[in-house]
Symmetry: C2
Amino acid sequence: MKKKDKYVVGILGATGAVGNEMVEILEERSFPVEQLLVFASERSEGNSLIFQNKKATVQTVSSDSFNGIDIALFSAGAKLSQQYAPVAVKAGAVVIDNSSAFRMDPNVPLVVPEVNPDALKGHQGIIANPNCSTIQMVMALKPIHDAARIKRIVVTTFQSVSGTGKEAMDELLNQTRALLGFSEMTSTVYPYQIAFNCLPHIDEFIEGGYTKEELKMVNETHKILSDSSIGISATTVRVPVFRGHSESINLELDHPLSANEVRALLSSFPGIIVWDDIKKNVYPFPVQASGKDEVFVGRVREDPSVPNGINLWVVSDNLRKGAALNAIQIAEHLIHPPSPC
Amino acid sequence: MKKKDKYVVGILGATGAVGNEMVEILEERSFPVEQLLVFASERSEGNSLIFQNKKATVQTVSSDSFNGIDIALFSAGAKLSQQYAPVAVKAGAVVIDNSSAFRMDPNVPLVVPEVNPDALKGHQGIIANPNCSTIQMVMALKPIHDAARIKRIVVTTFQSVSGTGKEAMDELLNQTRALLGFSEMTSTVYPYQIAFNCLPHIDEFIEGGYTKEELKMVNETHKILSDSSIGISATTVRVPVFRGHSESINLELDHPLSANEVRALLSSFPGIIVWDDIKKNVYPFPVQASGKDEVFVGRVREDPSVPNGINLWVVSDNLRKGAALNAIQIAEHLIHPPSPC
């Protein structure tokens, strides 16, 4: 990417839950923005948001939107990404795409900057941001995998409604209000009530009984860790939490690591905070991780039910590290690649 | 147990969440009750409840409470069970104890009637009711274990607050109201907020970083299935659900079973209903299982990450099959042992 002092940044899907977070994080991290252009589908046209004390008005995205843009952050779903990412690249932008559209494309790097920054080299204009539940898992896996190769992962997720978007957050709020007030409750975003409930169903069902979300955790983890020999079994579940995904992860390693060794490996990895002191009831949970940038790990336990077994509990804000923050960290790597040691 | 037309039944802990359910279930199932006596600790004295259209007044439990009682259902915590179960047995009662006090005692049968009814033979007066999360799991495991021995289980639970008791149900309700109304929220039952949150902490922490709840799932499963060779790893998590526990269970079997074979085995097992038709979004969840007697299983999937792997999602009402119903089913077996084939 051509080095500049400041960059013209475009956000497609700026009015969504992740888009909003992108705008905030660009400002928080003092990303060198020359100008911010914000786009969305027609129904959000005319909305506005504030960036660096200036009003930015949401424009309807079109084929002409990307002229002059250096970095385009996409978070408006796979369909719009498929339509506009090639257009944006042709117009000279680098696209960092938060949708699933290009993640498994062999020509598109799928990147978590702390985990596989080298994958960014030689990109062809589009860089994919992984799925939220995958990002926080591979963050915790990477230092362990480097130390004692992971043979198998059994993961069960507890995913918050913000992973679905703003409408799902409203649905949880409205259903909760209705149930407490004994008024009529409706479900439109999810097939069944999510308030005070758990639904073992995220994204569409596919062959073999798995969901697309579960398959993403398998395929994206293989791609990011460049190791498709890892056996991975995922069960993804929606829970009535607004922000923050939690994951119960069981690992089978190639050779033994003690719980203390795992904690030490995790603690020294950038972007991870170990909260694990059971004597003081210290463990991570979504309400605590909400709004924070790090991936939090606790409940580290040796698992004697299998040779070299380890259990982890991993929590992170799905809108930040799971989406918007990771995308902007990718942009930061593009404009300031870390100098070689 | 001496056969009678009707039995004098005592309930210790009758005002708790499980005790309430016991009273309802005795009536629902037309258990042959001659007289119902209800006991609790001092703070509930004088409360009353209705059984078969008659008022039963809660008495403070004492050493004299159990004279003349045939069947004593205990659900008032391990401390009161330890104190009064031997007293009740001495007075001639059979005690069915819902606490953890005697579960691992080698002289006490730990029984799920559909799974190990033979363990009831030769009891010495006390019969233990297993932990709620264990009961629903072993129900789903038993037909599979009989068909293709289970080598290893990795289970993660999503446990409702009613597992803690009435006060916890009030805490979830009050915290939810406070958070929606922006008023002050307090946590007294749980160490942290449970509303819109997930806490990876059920019962006390013990050595090795596990909780007592996690250890119960290991030890009680071994005892009920009479097979301590099964490797079991459990992570137990509290979720903001009022009633109904859910479990994500990964199994490694001795030889292969297809998902269809597993569904068929489960469907023909008494007390289990398979809800598993992903094309129609059919899978079990706690709101749907609440108030029902069965254990519901869905999301049956072959897991290619390990030889002979199977994933299951198991949901049941923790106050009914997970506690009160199972206890009363034990009592039914005592008074009407199934005739040999």
